[in-house]
């Protein structure tokens, strides 16, 4: 096999304040024809940037300062931009992006966008173009593909749009496809189908693939070779199985540990038999704005949901986006009013509990570390606020307690006077947890507490939550779409779909012997990387 792509010592620097900040250094990869390469790394590691340099899509401030890119025995540096876009980009090298919702132009039909790409690079008639477009839409397995040509992007679901994106990328039969986290924004069940599709198409078309992801599990499924990046440098590369089996660099080792740790057994809380929360047939619906001569449409976010949570138990609610899991959590927390049903906390109706008492029983932790803290207040103020609102304590007592709690979540005293924008995502999430536990609540509602964080940080936060759970004997309601996190963390699982509970049971039972059709699909779509798998091969 001959070399398809050879990148030597690529260096990308950012121009900022008359200083050159090197973001990618010494980036060298070698790709054979039909080979698939995975690039793994956390956000900011330069994995996307190095590929943008290859397709000349770098942001304005960034520039390639040294290094050579040789593609099909041609030095790409010698091509000027016009020829590059005509001959290479979109024809020989195509790219798929992360966000299918914004990657397609909403004012043009699918057919028009496909045709535009094809006709720009190929000197053929429109009829031929339409023929080719239909062919490729069939190849990406878009259901009812013949009608899709005249449809607009908003008429398709996220997964379907990503299929159209893939069709757009493949319409010119490229030799190299670059997929930049193509599945991260999709629901897990769709994720697996898309990865399967990319992998199949690679074989039928016979192209090379560079797959960028933060998820080692996904990359291990699809790529022959893998490159691990950290802080703009390649720390490890080699055959995927070899790297997974015997990682040389401590960072790779750490990544793997984070994944494998999720398999270990957990210390469990003492679970009492009496329920702390009783949810009985709650419903919540939203009315869509009425149209003339039509009844207003009603959409159920939550439909007759009932379950119990016992003292000390950790219960996980899983489901795809829009399944109503967050709405249930907010209703239990008293942040949204329900339409029907009953929520009892420690035998009391949620509406009858005073707000200040409720705050001492139940507290939320949210997903986005960037919007969870008010940017204008100091960490000390943010964490002390629940105390100053609900309890009468002197200033020095409050400060003492805040520092104690900050230590408990793994932050030192010096964070007291800092502002949120000086903290990293993981640290912010620790502050958010500190704020939630300072009133010593018995129930914590964690709404995807780790899904916005990098893998290594994610496992630290999970460790912290686990630690607190046993230390303070807290009941936790965990909302997540990540099955491996749920498996690691929870005693029981509730599966929700379209606002209804479709399955409920012990974690191991639901994961290993799912009963419902949707649950089966959900569980089989997880790309888990297990210790045993690797030793086996």
């Amino acid at each position: 096999m001959s070399d398809l792509l050879n990148i030597q010592n690529l260096e990308i620097s950012f121009q900022s304040n008359n200083k050159n900040l090197k973001t990618v250094e010494n980036f060298s990869i070698n790709l054979n024809e039909k080979e698939s390469l995975g690039i793994v790394g956390e956000s900011g590691s330069g994995k996307t940037l190095s590929m943008l340099a290859l397709t000349r899509l770098l942001p304005k401030q960034a520039s390639v300062s040294s290094g050579s890119i040789i593609f099909q025995n041609r030095n790409l540096d010698e091509l000027d931009n016009k020829n590059f876009y005509k001959e290479i980009s979109g024809k020989k090298i195509s790219m798929i992006f992360q966000e299918p919702m914004t990657a397609l132009n909403p004012v043009h039909t699918i057919g028009k966008q496909l045709l535009e790409t094809y006709l720009y690079h190929n000197n053929v008639s429109v009829e031929k173009g339409i023929e080719r477009a239909l062919e490729i839409l069939d190849a990406v397995k878009l259901p009812k593909y013949k009608q899709r040509m005249d449809q607009y992007p908003h008429q398709l679901s996220g997964g379907q749009r990503q299929r159209v994106m893939i069709a757009l990328a493949l319409i010119n039969n490229p030799s190299l496809l670059i997929a930049d986290e193509p599945t991260t924004a999709l629901d897990v069940t769709v994720q697996k189908e898309i990865i399967q599709l990319i992998s199949d198409l690679r074989e039928t078309i016979g192209m090379a693939l560079i797959f960028i992801s933060h998820d080692l599990g996904v990359v291990s499924q699809i790529s022959d070779n893998v490159v691990v990046m950290k802080n703009g440098e390649i720390v490890e590369k080699g055959k995927t199985l070899k790297v997974l089996e015997k990682p040389n660099h401590p960072y790779t080792q750490g990544l793997l540990d984070c994944l494998f740790k999720l398999e270990d057994e957990q210390k469990k809380n003492q679970i009492k038999d009496t329920p702390i929360i009783k949810v009985k047939e709650i419903s919540k619906s939203y009315k869509l704005p009425a149209k003339i001569f039509k009844k207003p449409e009603i959409i159920y976010a939550v439909k007759k949901v009932s379950f119990d949570v016992k003292f000390g138990e950790t219960i996980a609610i899983v489901g795809e986006s829009g399944s109503g899991k967050s709405t249930v959590a907010k209703i239990i927390n008293g942040l949204i009013n329900k339409d029907e049903g009953k929520v009892e906390i420690k035998g009391q109706n949620i509406e009858d509990i005073e707000i200040s008492d409720r705050a001492k029983i139940i507290q939320p932790v949210f997903q986005d570390p960037y919007s969870t803290l008010n940017p204008i207040h100091t960490i000390g103020y943010i964490v002390s606020r629940p105390l100053t609102i609900n309890e009468n304590k002197s200033e020095s007592e409050v400060k003492e307690e805040v520092i104690k709690i900050l230590r408990l979540v793994g932050l030192s005293e010096e964070y007291y006077n800092r502002f949120p924008n000086q903290l990293s995502g993981g640290q912010r999430q620790r502050v958010a947890i500190a704020r939630a536990i300072i009133l010593k609540p018995q129930i914590l509602i964690c709404d995807e507490p780790t899904s916005a964080l990098d893998v290594t940080i994610q496992s630290q936060i999970l460790d912290l939550l686990n630690d607190l759970k046993t230390k303070l004997n807290i009941t936790i309601i965990l909302i997540s779409h990540d099955i491996s996190v749920v498996k690691y963390f929870s005693d029981r699982i509730i599966v929700m779909y379209n606002g209804e509970i479709i399955e409920m049971g012990n974690t191991n039972n639901v994961i290993n012997i799912p009963k419902d059709k949707y649950t089966k699909r959900l569980m089989s779509s997880v790309f888990s990387l297990k210790k045993n798998d690797i030793k086996f091969t």
Partner: protein, 309 residues
């Protein structure tokens, strides 16, 4: 350069090398010391303020004392001018420099006062409309439509005419007809902020609506409101000038810049400095305030790229 060394000495922390270690306040200080337009506008405004406060004390000449034998003397750089009356005299033989100096006080008071009144009305309504939504929002939006539909100057004229002119009345009338910007900006900012997680968590820890509005929402809309504020100061000063020019604003013999221009209009062909001098003063003030406002917008916008060194 002088500005920067001065600021550096005042806030040494904000010039540490590590940018990400700065507090939001430090970052604003650093950005502002690098923004040319902001520095120019602020310096000019400070000078005008100093003039307004200390000018009449140092230059101890009454702006009301008439000397009819010395009517319409030209300023010092014109033929026939003298150092005794630097800007000459007006039609009643009053010292024109003293009148402009005193007029600075009046114009600044009215500009900032009216903008404050407008801000209080607009932000209160806007935050309520944004936070509570529903019928509150509908009523406020209706008020806004009314305000936008009515010709402001005509309304102000009518009210001043009915109540009778004085500085306080002029301030309140101008303020009461200039809150639309404040309302629109604070309403949309509130709508955005109230759905953020930190507001939800404030509700979860039991903070009252009043606490949430005062502690979480208003401080975060502040950077946008301060920009509108500086724009409105400029608009209010010009508005006062129009009212005075039409005869329903500040009443003679009190010197306001608008009034000076109105009084000078009869002499526009023969003694043009009577209009040009207060005109220049008005122009300088409004330009300095607007430059400062533009600068503030750049500085407080977290996405702006003001160079840090």
């Amino acid at each position: 350069m002088i500005f920067k060394t001065f600021i550096k000495r005042l806030f040494p922390r904000s010039f540490d090398d590590e940018i990400y270690n700065l507090t939001p306040k430090d970052l604003i200080i650093r950005k502002s010391s690098n923004h040319g337009g902001f520095k120019f506008g602020l310096s000019l405004l400070l000078i005008i303020f100093l003039f307004a406060i200390f000018g009449p004390i140092i230059f101890d000449v009454s702006p009301y004392e008439q000397d009819l034998t010395k009517r319409l003397l030209p300023p010092v750089w014109k033929e026939g001018g003298s150092w005794e009356y630097i800007f000459g005299t007006d039609g009643n033989g009053r010292d024109y420099f003293a009148r402009i100096l005193y007029g600075t006080r009046i114009s600044l008071t009215i500009g900032f006062g009216a903008a404050c009144v407008g801000m209080i009305i607009g932000v209160t309504l806007g935050v309520c409309a944004g936070y509570f939504g529903g019928w509150v929002d509908q009523i406020v939006s209706y008020l806004l439509t009314c305000q936008l539909a009515l010709p402001g100057l005509l309304l102000a004229m009518t009210i001043v005419f009915l109540i009778g002119p004085s500085i306080t009345v002029v301030i309140f009338v101008i303020g009461a007809t200039h809150w639309a910007f404040f309302l629109v900006v604070s309403r949309s900012a509130t709508q955005k902020i109230k759905n953020l997680d930190y507001v939800t968590s404030a509700r979860a820890i039991g903070a009252s609506k009043f606490q949430i509005i005062m502690r979480d929402i208003i401080p975060n809309t502040f950077s946008q409101i301060i920009v509108i504020f500086t724009l409105e100061v400029g608009i209010a000063i010009l508005n006062e000038a129009s009212l005075s020019f039409l005869g329903v604003g500040i009443q003679p013999p009190t010197p306001s810049w608008g009034l000076l221009i109105a009084e000078g209009k009869e002499a526009i062909f023969f003694q043009p400095w009577l209009i040009i001098l207060p005109g220049i003063a008005l122009f300088t003030l409004v330009v300095s305030i607007n430059m400062m406002g533009d600068g503030l917008r750049d500085i407080t916008d977290p996405n702006s790229k003001v160079s840090e060194e």
